[in-house]
Amino acid sequence: MKLSLWTYEGPPHVGAIRVATGMRNMHMVLHAPQGDTYADLLFTMIERRNHRPPVTYTTFQARDLGADTAGLFKDACRAAYERHRPEALLVAASCTAELIQDDPGGLAASMGLPVPVIPLELPSYQRKENFGADEAFYQICKALAKPMPRTAQVSCNILGATALGFRHRDDVAEIRQILERMGIAVNVTAPLDAAPSDIARLGQAHFNVLLYPETGEQAARWLQRSFGQPCIGTVPLGVGATRRFVQEVATLAGAAPILDETRLRQPWWSASVDSTYLTGKRVFIFGDGTHAMAAARVARDEMGFDVVGLGCYNREQARPLRALAREFGLEALISDDYLEVEAAIADLAPELILGTQMERHIGKRLGIPCAVISAPVHVQDFPARYSPQMGIEGANVLFDTWVHPLVMGLEEHLLTMFREDFEFHDAAGPSHHGAKAQPAPSQPQTSQAQPSPAAAPQPAPAGAGDAGNIVWLSDAERELKKIPFFVRGKARRNTESFAQTRGLSEISVDTLYEAKAHYAR
């Protein structure tokens, strides 16, 4: 038993629903109680889908348990087939149905439906949403993909995109353009936008492009094993990775490494003098493994940030992420406990967080700006405009979204110069964010306002690290307040660790400036 307040991932059947919902002419029958139909709103509200997910829930009740839940399941299968006439049917059990052991797969197979029935084993008490998506897609491929001759023209499949994926729709469009520009046809995109009949012809492609290892890795491996299709492993997030991706594709396809960079603005935006202030900004990065690792490279190599924390919530990616963290000289944070992540952020007091919607809320509470780089995300992360994360336009988008929450360079100087001016007081925040974006004095959007013990107006509480027994003299405390809020956390932290290394028990104004000189870069 483990107490959870907020979770990064849903249960595995939600992952399977993401696969089914991304596809066309697929239907899923889920053996589940009525409350599990909440999953529909993830798609219709958060992603604003204009169709119900193609899922029939059996919605068994307590009174059915002693009676015939298996019969209920078969009725639901039959009715779902009759009404929706899918090309294939997925069947699975939710956490509750797993306990009553009706064997949906066996039941559905015994019914003689005229379409392929694909049973899914989703261990709800061990695994989570990404596994569910990955497993569902793999089982679909295994059941439907047939050996086929390769297409005459060089072609590939784009794998891993699902419904409710973070920018999957736009990423796929962006990468498709890049591939087509190189003269490579896209055979099938799956699961997103594929019908079961498209899955059947996956084997026609010469190779695979795996954009989202979280949700497509097992399928990609299986296709490699079964059909000898090699797989491009580089995820084209950021300029460097996109160029590497193109090289890799070119080598594999025997094509020229053509990459149209006429619309690539990110490197110049990053090099231009107004971006100097980005140098060495301390960022904390957390998300799914793939996005977190890519963000770390972009942050260091393309933005000039200083990565001070790196982690992911999906254990499946723990190994490569740990290796990368070591390369950055960091200890990776592998955790799906958001309190642990919050504590790590509070302790490090970064100047920017790159995270999920959880970290966005943590950032609000701690008064630290945050840009979202990974699922889980909320409705505001599904913009109306074209906004990929991958490829050339993706690199531009990364620059814009990461820089947006920060106080801009020139503004930073003005804030320092006029810090006594009422318009530049702490709570004014970046001028492009409207009124008082930060620091958040209390929790966001509570329906009935009330104090929370956890609402801390400033990052880096005095207890951070082992500095708890170091005392700030009142002069020094006053001087610290004169430092603009967005660097104050860092100043406090640096001063405390400076004092600690010197064995000081008190911090005076002099200590503060000695520390400043010590850390000057």
């Binding site: 991932e9 529909d40 204009n50 609402a455």
Partner: protein
């Protein structure tokens, strides 16, 4: 008195339900009871449901959480009770502000027959007197959406202290602003001692006894109603205080029960009632003559339909409700003019067929169905907003009408450039 919809045959359906489970009630209950913590004993699904339904609105360290069952709990490798005790101890240590702890049963905990009642007794003994531990079911196999509030309040009733005082108890989790209005109105009428269940804090817990009369503020409190009667308290039968008429009849019924004259009530409510009538009339201009279809969600559907039909001039096509409580829904059905279909339970596919055939001007439905129906050219109102928004009593009557009028007005405003989804049919 006419029989209204009392003789309307009820369509009873058994197919796919598209509703929340009772766990969802925790989202408003935990805001109402400010020193209570709701610990769901369930699965990752339960945690994800709470987060998906609540995440939009609140993101503090919430006063609810899920003790997620793991493989080892199910395989008997770990003693689930010992695990639960450990999680509760950690939780209470971290949150010394918590005075009431609810262990909330889910489908998984009920299927594996984890005895939360015994766990609550055990933990109560351990943490008394600072913390009281109770348990109720919010599972999807037992409860639908608002029934979670019902089972929660019902769990509190046996623990209420006894009292012989002549007193009024209001039952149902009202937003604080509405609760204050109710107290003020009742004081005007001449009833000064008013208690509420649930109370905001544990130390304000009401007492109960044979001289307690209670009025329900929500129509979905069937189990609580039964529990209160077992404690000897007397129910004041009345419609739900929604809309001008509902509020008036509700207050009149309470006054009757306390031997207060109608004239005294009339005098006390004249001003707020007139104000509310005028405000509702303005909003109702948008609603007059329009048709409405209720998908089942909260058991508030008959009361809402009665308000829309009798005060806003709407035609009600169908009133779907998860459960039609013979006694509690009776006052509403008696008021509703015959005409609407009544449906209990659900077969969502068939019900959607009926929606498409009727093409109502507004369909009241859950979040999973709203956008898909809008894409078919229909106008919808999310049912969940009717539970989260202050809608009771005179001062909110026009707001309630506004919740239905706004989607219709929006459709009219956007009409010229609206996506022509209908053309695709």
């Amino acid at each position: 008195m006419t029989r209204g919809c009392l003789d309307t045959p009820v369509i009873k359906e058994r197919g796919q339900h598209e509703v929340f489970c009772g766990l969802t009630s925790i989202i408003w209950l935990h805001r109402k009871m400010q020193d209570a913590f709701f610990l769901v004993v369930g699965s990752r699904t339960c945690a994800h449901l709470l987060q998906s339904a609540a995440g939009v609105m609140i993101f503090a360290e919430p006063r609810f959480g899920t003790a997620i069952l793991e493989e080892k709990d199910l395989a008997g490798m770990a003693d689930a009770n010992a695990e639960l005790d450990r999680e509760v101890a950690t939780l209470l240590q971290r949150r010394p502000d918590i005075r009431q702890l609810f262990l909330v049963g889910s489908c998984p905990s009920e299927v594996i027959k984890l005895d939360l009642a015994r766990a609550a007794e055990r933990l109560s003994a351990q943490f008394a007197p600072h913390v009281r531990v109770l348990n109720f079911s919010g599972s999807g196999i037992e409860t639908t959406f608002t029934q979670g509030e019902d089972t929660c309040l019902a769990s509190m009733v046996p623990a209420l202290p006894a009292s012989d005082a002549h007193q009024l108890l209001l039952v149902g989790a009202l937003p604080d602003v509405v609760e204050d209005q109710a107290r003020a109105l009742l004081a005007q009428i001449g009833i000064e001692t008013v208690h509420c269940l649930p109370a905001q804090r544990a130390d304000a817990t009401p007492s109960i006894g044979p001289n307690t009369k209670y009025a329900l503020t929500q129509p979905f409190l069937g189990e609580t109603h039964a529990a209160l009667q077992r404690r000897g308290a007397r129910w004041i039968a009345a419609p739900t205080p929604l809309g001008v008429e509902g509020t008036t009849l509700w207050l009149m019924a309470i006054a009757d029960a306390f031997g207060i004259s109608r004239a005294q009530v009339e005098a006390a409510i004249a001003a707020p009632r007139a104000r509310a009538q005028a405000a509702v009339a303005r909003v109702a201009e948008t609603l007059q003559g329009k048709s409405a279809f209720f998908m089942p969600d909260s058991q508030m559907e008959p009361a809402l339909a009665r308000f829309l039909q009798r005060e806003c001039g709407m035609e009600i096509v169908e009133i779907g409700t998860p459960y039609l409580h013979a006694e509690l829904h009776r006052p509403e059905l008696a008021l509703l003019a015959a005409g609407p279909r009544l449906a209990e339970g659900q077969d969502v596919e068939r019900q959607l067929d009926r929606v498409r055939a009727a093409r109502p001007d507004i369909t009241v439905c859950g979040l999973g169905l709203a956008n898909p129906l809008e894409a078919e050219g229909l106008t919808t109102k999310w049912a969940i907003e009717l539970v989260f928004t202050p809608v009771h009593l005179f001062e909110q009557a026009a707001d309630l009408a506004g919740l239905f009028a706004r989607p219709i007005r929006r459709k009219q405003i956007l009409a010229p450039g609206a996506p022509k989804m209908e053309a695709a049919e």
